[in-house]
């Protein structure tokens, strides 16, 4: 069961044929319970107003005030515990009554008429909602008046992937597989390279001309295309190492990956 306590009626709603606290069966204790059964003073007031059996718009506020105060006084006489908000409401209503009976000239703002009218408007609104609630509950409700399918099969949701691929992706993928896995036949294509021998010649010749430190890059052919330049860099580096090994050159590098400098070894 999922019912929560507050969903149940704490006490039955006051019966329509209510005619005063004394009439409540069970004596004093029942009276207390009945007072507790109202959802606050406004609820009790609405109930009293309803007993006037007139439209809430035409209700007599003075009559209502008297009934409320009489009700609270009787409960008090029976030495019942009365919640503070009921007493506050009683005091306020007593004030309202006296203000309504006083001559108009002595009245302050807000006027007692305004206060009374506001109370009446509140009662109308609460009364309207109470009626609406009753009409709502009287509708054909699922599980009470109408029933849904007892054992629905349920709708299954299947997820499906819509794969996407196009012709070019397909064909180029195949081409790449082929290219990647082609039997490894190394066709050494003609490439612009600088051989080690020519680098050796070139570097040692240039070392012979200059005395100062020179960066390795300065030994490379100045206007070579990038691929030749790369090859020249590699072979010039090896040539430099070879010359250093032979004692024909000195190599200096200030930091790791820093520029490499060469000069002719002191004779």
């Amino acid at each position: 069961m999922t019912e929560v306590g507050v969903l149940f009626d704490p006490a039955p709603a006051p019966a329509d044929d209510w005619d005063g606290p004394g009439a409540a069966p069970g004596g004093a204790e029942a009276l207390y319970l009945e007072l507790d059964g109202w959802e606050g003073p406004l609820d009790l007031l609405l109930d009293l107003a309803r007993r006037q059996k007139v439209d809430l718009k035409a209700i007599s506020i003075l009559a209502l005030v008297d009934q409320y105060i009489a009700y609270i006084e009787r409960a008090d006489a029976l030495k019942l515990e009365i919640a503070a908000d009921y007493l506050v409401m009683a005091a306020w209503l007593a004030y309202l009554k006296s203000a309504l009976l006083l001559p108009k000239e002595e009245q302050e703002d807000p006027s007692p008429e305004e206060l009374a009218l506001r109370l009446q408007l509140r009662l109308q609104r609460l009364g309207a909602m109470r009626e609406a609630a009753a009409r709502l509950l009287a509708r054909d409700r699922i599980g009470r008046d109408v029933f849904l399918r007892g054992a629905p099969e349920g709708l299954r949701v299947d997820r499906r992937n819509a794969w996407q691929c196009d012709w070019y992706a397909l064909v180029s993928a195949y081409a790449q597989v082929k290219a990647r896995t082609e039997p490894v036949v190394h066709m050494v294509r003609e490439r612009p390279v600088m051989t080690l021998d020519s680098a050796l010649d070139r570097v040692s010749a240039m070392l012979g001309v200059k005395l100062a430190w020179m960066e390795l890059r300065e030994f490379l052919p100045a206007h070579a295309e990038p691929r030749l330049r790369r090859s020249a860099l590699a072979s010039s580096f090896v040539a430099a190492l070879e010359l250093a090994r032979l004692g024909k050159a000195e190599i200096r590098q200030e930091e790791i990956f820093g520029p490499l400098h060469l000069r002719r070894a002191a004779a």
Binding site: K57, L117, L126
Partner: protein, 213 residues
């Protein structure tokens, strides 16, 4: 798109009928349409609703969602020994009505109407029943949470939409869904400063202390 055997309208009607029978929850026309690859399902729904109108089972629309349910006039024959419906307390019923007729509405507004504090459990219980949901916050100081009803609420109480709430048009016309302040101001403006002179119903009654005797 896959070939779907739905060339004749009859097949779509049958398919919608079967889907709504099988569905565990009410379905919107859009959801049904998506289910059937974008087919226009409204004519099928209307045809089915008409077909079932006087049968023991009906096809009804509740908050834009469609569902089959038993005909209300058979209630007494189908009611189980144990009622499946929660009995609502008066407080819960009133709060539910206030949320439904005033939505979206904050707790303070609910309390202003009822003149009493709302216990925390009442709104929770209504939310647990899936009839009320949090509908955001009101952009006023304090940013209070505001509440509204759900499609399940409409479904449970057999309402096609909130416009079907019993008496909502009359309540609106009578200004009974407006706050007291607004109602008072409007009334005061209409009546003028000398309210008692013109015998308006609202205040005339105040003049009769004899009635309380």
């Amino acid at each position: 798109m896959r070939p779907v055997p739905m060339t004749s309208p009859d097949d779509l009607v049958r398919a919608v009928e079967a889907a709504l029978f099988a569905a565990e929850e009410p379905m919107t026309a859009d959801a049904l349409s998506a289910h059937f690859h974008g087919a226009e399902v409204l004519p099928a729904l209307r045809e089915l609703a008409a077909h079932y109108a006087d049968r023991g089972v009906r096809l009804v629309e509740r908050g834009n969602r469609w569902q089959f349910q038993t005909a209300p006039d058979l209630a007494h024959l189908l009611r189980r020994e144990r009622e499946q419906v929660r009995r609502l307390s008066r407080a819960a019923t009133e709060v539910l009505a206030i949320v439904a007729y005033h939505e979206p509405v904050s707790r303070a507004e609910i309390e202003a109407i009822r003149g009493v504090q709302t216990s925390a459990g009442t709104l929770d219980a209504l939310m647990e029943a899936r009839w009320v949901r949090v509908a955001g916050r009101r952009e006023v100081p304090g940013r209070p949470v505001i509440y509204a009803t759900t499609p399940e609420f409409l479904s449970h109480f057999g309402l096609k939409s909130r416009r079907d709430l019993p008496g909502i048009d009359e309540l609106k016309a009578a200004g009974l869904l407006d706050p007291v302040d607004d109602a008072y101001e409007e009334l005061a403006a209409r009546i003028g400063p000398h309210a008692d002179d013109d015998g308006e119903a609202g205040t005339a009654a105040l003049e009769n202390p004899e009635q309380s005797a």
